[in-house]
Subunit: 211 residues, 2 copies
Amino acid sequence: MSLKFYDFKMAPSPRRARIILAEKHVPHEVVEIDLRTGEQMGEAYRATNPNCTVPALKLEDGTVLTDNAGIAIWLEETYPEPPLLGTTALEKAEIASWQFRVETEFGMGVASALRNSNPAMKNRALPGPHNFEQIPALAERGLQQVDNFFATLETRLGGRNFIAADRLSVADVTCFVFMDFAKVVRKQPGDEHVNISRWRDSLRQRPAFRL
Amino acid sequence: MSLKFYDFKMAPSPRRARIILAEKHVPHEVVEIDLRTGEQMGEAYRATNPNCTVPALKLEDGTVLTDNAGIAIWLEETYPEPPLLGTTALEKAEIASWQFRVETEFGMGVASALRNSNPAMKNRALPGPHNFEQIPALAERGLQQVDNFFATLETRLGGRNFIAADRLSVADVTCFVFMDFAKVVRKQPGDEHVNISRWRDSLRQRPAFRL
């Protein structure tokens, strides 16, 4: 029995794991869970992942990993090449720091902007099993966070090819995915973000980033 | 030259690193940065950590790590015993998942509740160099998130001594620190949270958790 990857092609979150699987050439089966029809809430998927989210990764022994944090490190330990979480202590530290910044300063900004404004996400202002009402002011704040993060990232990428290390890391994967997804809140880097554009164009050449 | 740990005894964020340093018996010097007088914004500290935050850890070669994500993994790699980030792939995955949940479902709930309501934090609704106005509705949401997390954690700790693994991990450290800090928004586990209380009482016996 091989790894089973529960995916949904149009969602940003599973795309992060999808790119890691591809960069590491990890053999796996794909099970597409259609979020548009609410398949993630159905009994069948709930039995696999009670959190009702994608991505999920079912291991050969039946254990199911249910978030990107767990999936990324499990893949790194099990398929170490190429390393995406760093090799030296310092490299690992830089990657962990940038991964955290990308998640909290960028990803949460986009998520706040989307979830607190989109009529389709009424009462779904936070992910997970509990409902939360939308807060319009928080959507505004999310957009501001995205602008701030673009400025931070533009500076960081001056003279660098990758965000955290001298080679591709999970921080690049996460940031690239969130950047494509930021289209949903009409935020994209502008002409002034030359370093970001160079970095992004270069990642776009990699087959894994076209998935 | 030894490791220099930039700390502030009353703040929750540096306490996380302080406990890890103590659990691993890592030799280090402490430099106390007085956040009450704004010492973190002064020229001297800014030259060490341009982010003006604690914790920071200055390594022997002068490199400065400026957040808990980076500090935790650097310490784990450099002082592996006792392991706090796991040893097997699966243990590492579980710890990373729970660490992320504790950060986003609990820590951010407390931070939202505090930063969006406390008059002393007007315009400081998010940490970092940019100012953000407070959003009162977000303070309410933060309190709800904390309640939800207590319910999640109570279930998780049924029959378990630690949150993520069969031994202490960073997820326990982070959660314990946030739980003490949640007093600032008047949220504490109640009588119904028997598993949380047992877990917390047990951690309180460890000298590192009294720091």
